[in-house]
């Protein structure tokens, strides 16, 4: 009885959760005379809308964030999961502490700091900050993934004469692939949709990411808001995320759950 009830409730709730997404896609192609791409045309041609460089900027920031996070978290996860060295526990705790010190509170200081090192209003500076915010989750994930590899696998590679780098690349990386997928997807979704960090760290409109450009359509207009073009922007940015998520869902959820479980 209870079981059937909860299924019906579940189905009703699922429709409720999917409804806004479906509505947004529908509203983005709805025009006064029927259906069409007029809203997308306004999104890409109006003064405050998305320009080509905004798409390029978003892609660049996401690529740098995903690449940088993968590099730092793989090496760090390898170090934390497979080696002992002085200061290991302190560094690990400090990395996790990034989660406890939410970034809105240190972004003002990061803005000043990036100015000092010549990275103000720069996509590279923004990516470095985004990589830092990804580290607690990614290092934690990768440490668990490297720890879970049986010792024999590593030892057999070393007997074959592999150094630590060759062991990492040839033997260990294939074994931690689910972790790498989870870390990449998480880094992509965050950097693609991030709003507050670029808002503070990027000043000139030609450096804007798509997210900033679309929000600008809402906040920079004093008159009426162009809602249909706004929904076109939302849909356009959501599509790559939804596709990636559905395609990689299995390993993402598995990686995520094994990470959270061990916490």
């Amino acid at each position: 009885m209870r079981f059937g009830m909860s299924r019906v409730t579940g189905a009703a709730l699922a429709i409720l959760f999917l409804f806004p997404l479906v509505w947004s896609a529908w509203a983005s192609v709805r025009t006064p005379s029927g259906f069409g791409l007029a809203n997308y045309q306004r999104l890409f041609t109006s003064d405050n809308g998305i320009r080509f460089e905004h798409v390029a900027n978003s892609l660049a920031v996401s690529a740098m964030t995903v690449g940088g996070t993968l590099l730092v978290a793989t090496l760090g996860g390898y170090a934390f999961g497979r080696f002992h060295f002085p200061g290991k526990n302190i560094l690990f705790l400090l990395t996790l502490a990034i989660l406890m010190v939410p970034y809105a509170t240190i972004l003002i200081a990061l803005y000043v700091l990036l100015g000092w090192i010549g990275l103000q209003d720069s996509l590279i500076g923004l990516s470095l900050v985004l990589i830092m915010f990804q580290l607690p989750f990614s290092i934690f994930m990768m440490r668990n993934a490297f720890e879970a590899i049986p010792n024999e696998l590593e030892e057999s590679a070393q007997i074959d004469g592999c150094g630590s780098i060759a062991t990492l690349v040839r033997v260990l990386l294939p074994a931690v692939r689910p972790g790498l997928v989870t870390v990449s997807l998480f880094a992509f979704l965050t950097s693609w949709g991030e709003f507050f960090a670029p808002l503070i760290l990027l000043n000139s409109t030609d450096k804007f990411t798509m997210m900033l450009a679309v929000v600008n359509m809402r906040t920079a207009t004093f008159g009426a808001i162009d809602y249909p073009a706004l929904e076109a922007g939302v849909t356009f940015m959501a599509i790559p995320c939804l596709i990636l998520f559905v395609v990689l869902q299995r390993s993402y959820v598995r990686g995520f759950m094994s990470g959270a479980l061990r916490g």
Binding site: A79, L189, E194, M237
Partner: protein
């Protein structure tokens, strides 16, 4: 004497092994170096810098000068700050309670395997794949009378403080319930099924089982989820910046919005840093209290 001798022999045998151990330590430290660099330069330095900045008159352009403790004393009679502080606390309690109940409910619904359960899980989680700022823009259109499906049946977002607050809460529930459901689901599935079977044999009702088995065994997962919810809500920005613009009459202005305003509208980084320090202290208190409560219970 003999003991000393054997020890000396052992020590000699150990030296090469110890050297290789030291080499291994060095390699490990090298692999951790990029992490140490990023954490040091982009986390520890800014953390110190924000405290240092709060002691200065620090204009957006131009040289800073020390002005202790003016930034802090100015905060005490800042009316917008105290409104924002109370609003943020109220919002945090409201969101944490509602989000926890709904996420737990979703996790219980999709806990067991049945046909279509994977579709339900995906449906609940899918909003989390959309950026939060995107989600805020989506709701701006969804709740508008211009193109929203509810037309003018709903009061407009900024017609009253209650309408503004409930729109933002609705948005947050939709965007984050699935994500928290997934974490809670992990905790639920870690409970061995034998425990439930034993309870059923003892004739325990669903509610008894839930209270005396499920909840206590999920203490760490619940603690994690609550911590994420509380710290996330204390830092609320996107939903108010985009959806309600902090209005009407600053009734939905959050603490982080005050930081942003002070820094980039009033161009006063020193005061913005002081509010950040205040927020950090607030979060520290929350974490300590949560740790205490958890310790006492276990």
């Amino acid at each position: 004497m003999t003991m000393l001798a054997t020890r000396a022999v052992e020590a000699e045998a150990v030296t090469p092994r110890r050297r290789s151990r030291r080499r291994k330590q060095l390699i490990g430290a090298l692999y951790a170096a990029p992490t140490a660099f990023v954490v040091g330069l982009f986390f520890l330095v800014p953390l110190g810098l924000v405290a240092w900045m709060s002691l200065h008159r620090w204009p957006l352009l131009g040289p800073p000068s020390m002005n202790v403790p003016d930034n802090y004393t100015a905060l005490s009679d800042d009316k917008l700050l105290s409104t924002a502080l109370w609003f943020t606390l109220k919002y945090t309690v409201l969101v944490t309670v509602l989000l926890f109940v709904i996420s737990f409910g979703l996790a219980l619904i999709v806990q067991h395997r049945f046909r279509g359960v994977a579709i339900l899980r995906t449906a609940f989680f899918l909003p989390a794949a959309v950026g939060f700022a995107s989600a805020s823009l989506l709701f701006l259109g969804l709740l508008s009378s211009e193109i929203g499906p509810f037309g003018s049946k709903l009061p407009s977002v900024s017609s009253s403080p209650t309408a503004a607050l409930s729109s933002a809460v609705g948005l947050v529930l939709w965007r984050f319930a699935g994500f928290n459901m997934l974490i809670l689901l992990t905790g639920l599935q870690a409970i061995p099924t034998e425990v439930y079977e034993a309870a059923r044999l003892d004739g325990a009702s669903w509610w008894q089982t839930f209270r005396s088995i499920t909840l206590p065994l999920m203490r760490t997962t619940i603690a994690l989820v609550l911590t994420l919810m509380v710290s996330g809500s204390l830092l609320a920005f996107d939903q108010f910046w985009i959806l309600t613009r902090g209005g009407p009459d600053n009734s939905t202005t959050s603490l982080v919005m005050v930081i942003y305003r002070k820094a980039f509208i009033e161009l006063d980084l020193g005061s913005a840093a002081a509010v950040s320090v205040l927020l950090l202290v607030l979060l520290l208190i929350v974490s300590v209290v949560q740790l205490r409560v958890l310790r006492r219970r276990s």
